[in-house]
Amino acid sequence: MRDNTLKYLLVLPAILVVFATAVWPLIQSFRFSLFQGRLTRPGFPQGFLGFENYVWALTEEPAFWNSVAVTAVYTVLTVGLTVALALGLALLLVPGGRFRMSVQTLLILPFAMSPALIGVSFRFMFNPEFGLFDAFFGLVIPPLADISWLSDPVLAFAVCVMADVWGWIPFLTLVLIGGLAAIPRDTIEAAQVDGASGWQVFRDVTIPQLLPVLAVVIILKSIFSLKTFDQIYMLTNGGPGTATQTLSHYVYFNGLKYGQLGYSAAVAWLMVIPMIFLTYAYAKLVFRRTQQ
């Protein structure tokens, strides 16, 4: 068989699988979002509504805007904290040596943990009676002793952010160590010879050269923060009230608990919009990388 035909045949099964498992559901979700779609009633989906579900979410639902706000603050905090702390840890670990290498090996472990399990662990750690972190915080900051973390809206949100940051720092550290190790030593040494201080070298030599990797890390983390569901579900289940209800959780609750599938498909599609921009930015980075 000629390569010209074969090359398309080889790709075909994969394209079909991706189409059936991702592209089709995406289109179908969009179709649902235009209908009155109640799971509990017969003849799903029921009446055609046009964009009314979208208008309803944007104008009539404070709960929707609440979950937008929760997701936005959550994303900004988790991305900022994770990237900053991971960068710090990566700078500490990049010199190598046996001690630092064994620490790097350990870093892989939290990332192999299922996010659902991280959620459970943090609920355990912050239990007001026998939680380890609760006891620790009580010792360091006495006003926080024996507080019921997960029943306070602000503190519960803080615990969710901590769980996420805890789970992601190790992985992002590993990525950034790779990025730091790829910076040519001589550019740093040249700056040091010229008398630049440690901070100047970091700001003027390291950061600019690390920028492509930092961009990858920030976009990737933003995408995963925007989608957050597993930990939240196991840790607070959106509560207390709706204080930690992210968009994914809101869609899940409305669509599958309350059976308003049409409406929640519309909200889900509103989530896709920021993803399109982030994916576009990410794809540009990937292809600049492969063309080098």
Binding site: K7, A14, F229, D230, S264
Partner: protein, 275 residues
């Protein structure tokens, strides 16, 4: 302070910070491990010394929890997902790596993009379809939706490995009269084997830890391990010693697998954006 003693101070300070960071990272995991071997009474106290017991593991596998069933489901679902994803992805990755095609960039970006779509968007139509055709709460259904998250990773990761294989041997074999398919079978597959195994392990971890799809698609027969955790939220509160024992059963195999492929983990997760 002299330059030498200042350098020594900095080195110690760095080591201290690293040790603290590692402690924060490891202690919750160790705590779960300890709780799994504690008796019901000991869990409710912050003590380090206790009489270890294996009874929690016996309890989670016994009725009514039957974690063994969930373990079987998780293993079958993750293995089947990988067994479908890796061969299909390998063929495509070879083509993406070695040939130029019309619409190649579009296809690769589309594959990349599907990974970033929120899982809740994908699961709604599958829920409705599975309800209509009777695939709800089946392992087959779960494998189908898991392919959605695993395929993009598999394709991008394997493409990275095949890109790294020199093309010369293949060309020499073609000159000697081998067909393209023979080249793939006799030259590319053996050379890419370590990469394929790595990608398979990576996808296995993703499928094993998958939560949202399993939460929505399964409810009784085909429940996987992460969903099984919810069993231990009893009316009298969470059964922490049992949750911890179940947690260990979920995470320990993944720790082993992650350590095996640790060098390629970063590459896999970032889909070739970072090497």
């Amino acid at each position: 302070m002299s330059a030498a003693s200042r350098r020594k101070f900095w080195r110690t300070a760095q080591a201290v910070v690293i040790v603290i960071a590692v402690a924060i990272m490891i202690i919750p995991i160790i705590w779960i491990f300890m709780a799994a071997f504690k008796s019901h009474v000991d869990v409710y106290q912050l003590k380090l010394l206790f009489k270890p017991t294996f009874s929690n593991f016996a309890t989670v596998f016994a009725s009514p929890y039957k974690l063994g069933d969930k373990l079987v489901n998780s293993t079958i679902v993750a293995t089947t997902t990988v067994a479908i994803a890796i061969p299909v992805a390998t063929l495509a990755s070879y083509s993406f790596s070695r040939f130029r095609m019309r619409g190649e960039t579009t296809m690769l970006v589309m594959i990349l993009a599907t990974q970033f779509v929120p899982a809740v968007v994908i699961v709604l139509p599958f829920f409705v379809m599975f309800r209509d055709v009777g695939l709800l709460d089946t392992r087959t259904g779960l494998v189908l939706v898991n392919l959605a998250i695993v395929m993009p990773f598999a394709i991008w990761m394997i493409k990275g490995f095949i890109d790294g294989i020199p093309i010369d041997t293949e060309e020499a074999a073609m000159v000697d009269g081998s067909t393209r398919l023979q080249v793939i079978r006799n030259i590319v597959l053996p050379m890419a084997a370590p990469g394929l195994i790595t990608s398979g392990i990576f996808c296995f971890i993703i499928a094993w830890n998958e939560f949202l799809f399993a939460l929505i698609i399964t409810n009784k027969e085909s429940v996987t391990l992460p969903i099984g955790l919810a069993l231990f939220k009893a009316e009298e509160g969470d059964l922490w010693n049992l949750l911890s024992a179940a947690g260990i059963i979920i995470m320990l195999p993944m720790f082993v697998l992650a350590l095996i492929i640790r060098r390629h983990f970063v590459q896999g997760m970032t889909m070739g954006a970072v090497r």
